[in-house]
Amino acid sequence: MYIIGTGLTKFGEHFEKSLLDLALEASVEAVKESGLELSQIDAVVVGNMLSDTLSSQGHLGALLSSSLGLNVEAFRVEAACASGGVAFKKGVDMLKAGQYQNILVVGAEKMCDHKSSEVVAGLTNAAHAEKESFYGLTFPSVYALMTQRYFYQYSIASKELAAVAVKNHYHGARNNKAHFPKEITIDTVLKSSVVAEPLTLFDCSPISDGAAAVVLSLEAKPEAVKVLSSEIATDSVALQDRQKITSIKATKIAAKKAYKNADVTIKDIDMLEVHDCFTIAEVIALEDLGFYKEGQAGQAAKLGHTYYNAKLPVNTSGGLKSAGHPVGATGVKQVIEIVHQLQGRAEGRQVNKAQLGLTHNVGGSGATAVVSILSSNI
């Protein structure tokens, strides 16, 4: 199956727009780009985490499809910060099943309308309520526990993590859809306030509004991008129940399946969009996806290896860190970044001769992982 249309709002603070406004904006743009009529959309899948907690709105599938003037099958998918990636994978599955021809997948999140304490509490729902949140664990502190253990086991420190944020902001500064499109320095990260030791504010992705949409189709058109594979794996929600907290087993399992089903090896992959909700998450992702051995990806950004014009471009969109993290939209935005790169539309951050790209979207601290592989060879 193929991605034949993309739509993406700017990520950031959209006080003048509702969750539905954002979802509609991305949807209409994606359908327009696909060249299809709205009436040719057979189903709508919406990825969103927080609408009932924050906006008192459930039932997003019908809300969006009816607002587009459709009466088709529509539903919402929730898997914490992986909601968008899981929605994409569900769209792919539905096409594979053969019942439908064209599916609209939309990821959307509205966070900036609400007090940050409410958003923090909502995001913490991704952790284990009885085992983690009950004791005062916040979302950043869950990743901080992983970071502290990683520092203990391997020879990197805050400076190496800061280099990940610097690199992603360098990319984000070249993306006009990014929430914080400006370059920063190592000092910006190290001197910003500490959220949960050892993670500072600039180790964390921001709270953003935004929506992203793609039209998936059984039929290719010129400039379409082929979905070679899309795979999900899961693991324990609470860190305490994992075999290790310095790697994410769900990523490893999803990646293995994705490589196998796409019939590719990591050597074939030209670029990655990985889930950098916190800087440590990008480091761990590069290891779990197989690009570095465990404990060895910490130097990648510092040495310049993961810039858009280097040997392994990672998060050319700016990642969650600089492009922003409207949770439900993120997984779909990652797909769109790869699509635009493969189509040569990435402007100031265009990867040279990219043909194969990978997206990696994570829910919570690693309980859900989605890995998809996209190709420009249709």
Partner: protein
């Protein structure tokens, strides 16, 4: 967390009571009715040791509403002696002195402030030995 949710967990929370799988020996905290390792449903209660070591930790400066009065505070993963890895806080200790591998001991504490109309949650935190 509702009164009934709290009540269901009080043995685990007050006394570190968890479960052990009678088939494969895997330990669970809090209590569990099913073994995810071997698929057995033959689990029995077990009171775990009140001592353990620090597996990982983090000082939290930005906290949820119910924890704001105790902020900053230290969250931690604790490996209980002969027991499982559990999640809690380290209290009564200078945050700068906490290191991975240090020995800790359980203490009984108020966990967080109460939400209006709900009960106060108590449970186990840890302090450095």
């Amino acid at each position: 967390m509702s009164i009934i949710q709290n009540w269901r967990l009080y043995e685990s929370r007050y006394n570190l009571v968890g479960s052990v799988c009678r088939t494969c020996g895997k330990q669970y905290f809090p209590k569990s009715s099913f073994c995810s390792k071997c698929g057995s449903d033959k689990l029995t209660d077990e009171t775990f040791s009140k001592e353990g070591t620090v597996y990982s930790f983090s000082k939290v400066n930005v906290s949820p509403y119910l924890f704001q009065k105790q902020t900053p505070y230290v969250v931690a993963l604790i490996k209980l002696k002969n027991g499982p890895l559990i999640t809690s806080q380290i209290v009564d200790s200078e945050a700068e002195k906490i290191k991975i591998g240090q020995k800790v001991k359980a203490v009984f504490r108020k966990i967080s402030d109460e939400k209006k109309g709900e009960i106060i949650s108590y449970g186990i935190k840890f302090r450095l030995l």
